[in-house]
């Protein structure tokens, strides 16, 4: 513990290093997308364009799944974008921290606003209230400079290797395991845990609501339940 404020440069390297564990998530996810993309009939340029332009694995997989069913273009776009709606909430959550950066920087950061860079950066900002704006920017830059190249390169490797990965490896389940791993440490308080359970219950109940709107609805309910639980616990300790 020391009181020296984190310099932007050391914040950059901190962010860079903090992303290393996510290789276990991003590399298989990228490989998988590359492999599945070429398997369903995209060419290599299209598979790469997905990972470079969209840079959001779960929505890319959603789009692929719907495209294999020849869903209407409108439905493919709407559903995949619905999966990404959570990122509007990420965007909002970062405003109090990096909202004062120049517009160009905010545009660049927005492009790199993915689950992992968001989760790590927000945790860091909240754990270190004394961080300067420059250090916060440095940290975020470090996270995406490390992780984004792996996303691009391993999509390409996956696309080139194609469907060589045998089904026995059950890589289909890499996605859920990775998402669970990412969200479990977020349950740092009872209200967070309650919100997670609420989200699970309503997402399962709403699974038949079309266009992934069930997930959005479940998330909104879970957010309200979490915030209410927090308020309720606070009021109880005060009185």
């Amino acid at each position: 513990m020391n009181d020296t404020p984190l310099s932007p440069k050391s914040a950059f390297w901190l962010g860079f290093r903090d992303m290393v564990p996510f290789l276990l998530i991003v590399v298989p996810f990228a490989l998988l997308f590359g492999a599945v993309g070429t398997e369903v009939g995209l060419n290599i340029a299209q598979t790469m364009a997905f990972s470079i332009l969209v840079i959001a694995g779960s929505s890319q997989f959603t789009a692929l799944a719907l495209m294999t069913e020849n869903a209407p273009t409108f439905i493919v776009l709407l559903t995949s974008l619905a999966v990404n709606l959570r990122m509007a909430m990420y965007s909002a959550a970062l405003v109090p921290h990096i909202g004062r950066l120049p517009l160009t920087t905010r545009a660049i950061f927005s492009y790199f606003l993915v689950d992992q860079t968001f989760a790590m950066s927000l945790n860091k900002y909240e754990a270190n209230p004394g961080m300067t704006l420059a250090a916060k920017a440095g940290y975020f830059t470090g996270t995406f400079c490390f992780i984004a190249p792996f996303w691009y390169v391993f999509t390409l490797v996956g696309a080139l290797v194609g469907a060589q990965i045998p089904a026995e490896f059950a890589l289909d389940f890499a996605v859920p395991i990775c998402f669970i791993a990412l969200s479990a440490p977020m349950m740092r308080s009872l209200p967070h845990f309650v919100a997670a359970i609420t989200s699970i219950i309503f997402a399962l109940l709403f699974v038949n609501i079309p266009y992934n709107l069930g997930l959005i609805l479940a998330a909104v309910i879970a957010m309200i339940v979490g915030a209410q639980t927090e308020q309720w616990l606070k009021n109880r300790t005060i009185s």
């Binding site: 564990p21 996510f22 276990l24 995209l42 299209q46 364009a49 997905f50 969209v54 929505s59 495209m67 294999t68 020849n70 273009t73 493919v76 776009l77 974008l81 959570r86 990122m87 509007a88 990420y90 965007s91 909002a92 405003v95 109090p96 909202g99 905010r106 545009a107 927005s110 492009y111 927000l122 089904a167 059950a170 289909d172 859920p176 395991i177 990775c178 998402f179 669970i180 791993a181 969200s183 479990a184 440490p185 977020m186 349950m187 967070h192 919100a195 997670a196 359970i197 609420t198 989200s199 699970i200 997402a203 699974v207 479940a218 998330a219 909104v220 879970a222 957010m223 915030a227 308020q231």
Partner: protein, 109 residues
């Protein structure tokens, strides 16, 4: 897949553009304007409200088994969840999930 090349590119570019606009929505448009307290309080719960709901259907109705509940996958999910909460570590959760998945697939599969 029977889309023509133009449609495929339209989907990719449309998804890319739309996703960027979603990410840029608050950071770009709202900027450093003061946000209401109740709003910030709810934001605290965004990630934990979205991600479990995103995974739950994939665990209960896995695509690989055509939507039939599957013991190894369920056990792997529980292991990842339990280890993630217990060890507060992403890497521990991923490892626990995969070890249990492969062990259970070997035993039951």
């Amino acid at each position: 897949m029977t889309y023509d090349q133009g449609t495929i590119w339209f989907i990719i570019i449309g998804l890319g553009l739309g996703t960027f606009l979603i990410r840029f929505s608050f950071l770009g448009i709202i900027g450093d304007r003061e946000l209401p307290k109740w709003f910030l309080r709810h934001l605290n719960f965004v990630a934990v409200a979205v991600m479990p709901g995103l995974i739950a259907p994939l665990v209960v109705w896995p695509a690989a088994t055509n939507g039939v509940l599957d013991t190894p996958r369920m056990l792997a999910a529980l292991a990842a969840f339990g280890f993630g909460i217990w060890r507060k570590s992403v890497i521990a959760a991923v490892l626990a999930g995969f070890i249990v998945l492969y062990a259970a697939l070997y035993l039951f599969g």
